[in-house]
């Protein structure tokens, strides 16, 4: 049941009938995620941000998928590389930077969690932790609740290929498959779990091969192609809303940075590979596609880059000015207060 991207790409017409302004919006989000991410590294190296973990190279996989979801209705459960995901779902650049600086008004955690542990109930971005894979079980449960309630929201969850070694991945896929739950499992496969290559992580060639083992479709897609990811996700969402159950999507992406600001990937990645990933930049690719189809002029591209840079400057300044959490708030929110009985 594993489907390859070649079949998906066979659909006629560039952009899958998305209007030009939507295609430009997709690019804008990808550029925004990249610019924020790059600024975080600068702030880290300047000693202003203790920790950065990157989205670079994953932007197309995340933006493509998120554009196939219904914002404010569907649940997303991103993992720590999900910067582009949360931007599309409605988190603002300033809010992202508040998390980087661990400020009191950080919407994800009020400065309690490490950066990139995004969450916001209003936006249906589910809070995440650091032990990998736990969120996959939560996604299945959100789908189970949705089925019990008779709603048609879907749960979209992302994780790396290393996480597919965790039991929660297998348990959650199995549960979602048995009950045909409205869940989309997106594995963003960048071939590395910190330093460990995919070859040491699994004996199958593609994470998508796991799907049929659970009785669900497994689809492998070029995760640097934003429109391909959009299309496979759109179909998976349709399938989930129809009540036909979950889909496992492997988005093959590149990790363009070290695992985190505390890692040095030159100690385990060969030099030619580090050069190669620079040539697989999903943003460069999408710009070229839009240019080729006459959807983005050079002037528009330059304007977009300037707009994004200004947004990042403003977000950085606003977040840096925001106050730190007060020490006495340490004890807040250990337990939720009792609710009035219905």
């Amino acid at each position: 049941m594993t489907v390859s991207i070649n079949e998906i790409s066979a659909s006629p017409g560039f952009g899958h009938d998305l209007p030009p302004h939507t295609l430009q919006d997709m690019l804008r989000y990808m550029m925004l995620a990249r610019a924020l991410d790059e600024r975080m590294w600068v702030l880290n190296r300047a000693g202003k941000a203790p920790f950065v973990i990157s989205c670079q190279g994953h932007e197309a996989a995340q933006v493509g998928a998120a554009f196939a979801l219904s914002r404010g209705k569907d649940f997303v459960l991103p993992y720590y590389r999900g910067l582009a995901t949360v931007l599309v779902m409605g988190m603002t650049p300033t809010e992202v930077m508040l998390g980087l600086f661990a400020r009191a008004t950080d919407p994800s955690s009020g400065g309690r969690q490490m950066p990139a542990h995004y969450g916001c109930r209003r936006l249906k971005i589910v809070t995440q932790s650091s032990p990998v894979g736990t969120q996959i079980a939560h996604a299945a449960g959100i789908g189970l609740a949705e089925k019990i309630k008779g709603g048609d929201a879907v749960a979209w969850v992302s994780f790396g290929e290393g996480t597919t070694s965790q039991g929660d991945f297998h348990e959650a896929l199995n549960l979602a498959a048995v009950h045909r739950l409205p869940v989309i499992f997106q594995c963003e496969n960048n071939e590395y779990a910190i330093s460990v290559h995919q070859r040491q992580q699994m004996a199958v060639a593609s994470v998508a091969d796991r799907g049929p083992a659970y009785g669900i479709p497994g689809i492998s897609v070029d995760g640097t192609d934003v429109l391909a990811v959009y299309e496979v996700t759109r179909r998976a969402v349709e399938r989930a809303r129809r009540g036909d159950g979950p889909t496992l999507i492997e988005a093959r992406v590149v990790r363009m940075t070290a695992h985190s600001s505390d890692d040095n990937d030159r100690t385990y990645r060969p030099p030619h590979e580090l050069t190669l990933v620079r040539h697989q930049d999903p943003i460069v690719r999408f710009v070229a596609q839009l240019r080729e189809h006459g959807i983005l002029s050079e002037a528009e591209e330059q304007a977009m880059r300037a707009e994004v840079a200004a947004i990042v400057d403003r977000a950085t300044e606003e977040a840096e000015r925001a106050p730190m959490p007060e020490p006495e708030t340490l004890y807040d929110h250990v337990y939720a207060p009792a609710r009035p009985r219905r």
Binding site: S109, G119, T134, A145, K149
Partner: protein, 327 residues
């Protein structure tokens, strides 16, 4: 007021909660047609259907993990872990996720989840159907841990747990399921999570227990009464949050404290109660704070002789009470 056993009281509590609120559902192994291996959920599948009494795959981590997700999507899940001995695969989901979600999201998300699980021994369950797990979980802020001992408390605490916006680990001593009977009112009531309950007032020594051991302590207290020693037996009922006020007030009255649990002693819950008493009631003490717990062996063996040697008994508890009273 009808009399029923502890298991029937829990079943009635589940039934009434499901009837009152359609958001409540049950998720666990064999909870559906079979009604659970102990029959706690018997009849609920027929009454509420397969969408609200759901047989889960045999995988504890996703039982809890999925219920966490469901709790964040406006339902009130009740997870059943078939035996507390099998809760270990779900430890990550309970401790890292359920207990920390409200805190780590700065109060944004809530996990209104109840995890019911039978624990404890004395029923020939051997190493893997007899364990007490409360110490692992009572250590964790963000989690509530409830250990009812009577049918009345079990039903009332269960309803409070279902309505609580926090994750609650609801520990049911499996030997009390059919052994312990009591009157349960027909009207709707709650027993609040938190307060301990003095099950037998006394003047000479204070004894703190929960679950099956609470009943063994009551039996031993009866024996001691015949010997002229007045024993106060306090049912802790909730281990987290712990009712330190009731504990300290009792010790200040009697000047003597004994804590009894079936879980092994080292690092057990009794150590926390003893430390609280030593720290805050030192000047009121007329003797050492004593503890009885299971022996420090990995778990309870199957053979009757070995199981009996593991379990604290009314007789061994009475012996400790006499020693304490003699100070």
């Amino acid at each position: 007021m009808p009399e029923m056993n502890l298991l029937e009281a829990i079943r009635q509590g589940l039934d009434e909660a499901m009837a009152a609120d359609t958001r409540v559902f049950i998720f666990g192994e064999d909870v559906g047609k079979r009604g659970g291996v102990f029959r706690v959920t018997e009849g609920l599948y027929d009454k509420y259907g397969p969408m609200r009494v759901i047989d889960s795959p045999l995988a504890e981590s996703v039982i809890v993990g999925a219920c966490i997700g469901a709790a964040m999507n406006d339902t009130l899940p009740i997870a059943e872990i078939q035996f507390a001995d099998f809760i270990a695969p779900a430890f990550n989901q309970i401790v890292q996720e359920a207990a920390r979600i409200h805190y780590r999201s700065n109060g944004d998300w809530e996990v209104p989840l109840v995890i019911r699980t039978p624990y404890g021994g004395g029923i020939h369950g051997a190493l893997y159907h007899s364990q007490s797990v409360e110490a692992f979980f009572a250590h964790v802020p963000g989690l509530k841990v409830v250990t009812p001992s009577t049918p009345y408390d079990a039903k009332g605490l269960l309803k409070s747990a279902i309505e609580d916006p926090n994750p609650v680990l609801f520990l049911e001593h499996k030997k009390t399921y059919r052994l312990i009977k009591g009157f349960v009112p027909e009207e709707d009531y709650r027993v609040p999570i938190g307060p301990a309950d003095i099950k037998r007032p006394g003047e000479d020594i204070s004894v703190f227990a929960y679950g099956l051991m609470l009943h063994y302590c009551l039996e031993a207290a009866q024996t001691l009464a015949a010997e002229g020693v007045s024993v106060e037996v306090v049912d802790l009922r909730t281990l987290r949050p712990l009712d330190t006020e009731t504990i300290l007030a009792s010790v200040r009255r009697t000047g003597k404290a004994l804590i009894v649990h079936e879980d092994n002693l080292f690092g057990g819950f009794g150590g926390e109660v003893a430390a609280i008493i030593a720290e805050h009631a030192f000047e009121d003490l007329d003797g050492p704070v004593m503890r009885i717990g299971g022996p420090d062996v990995p778990a309870m063996p199957f053979a009757h002789s070995l199981e009996a040697a593991f379990m604290p008994s009314p007789a061994s508890i009475a012996t400790a009470m006499r020693r304490l009273a003699a100070y």
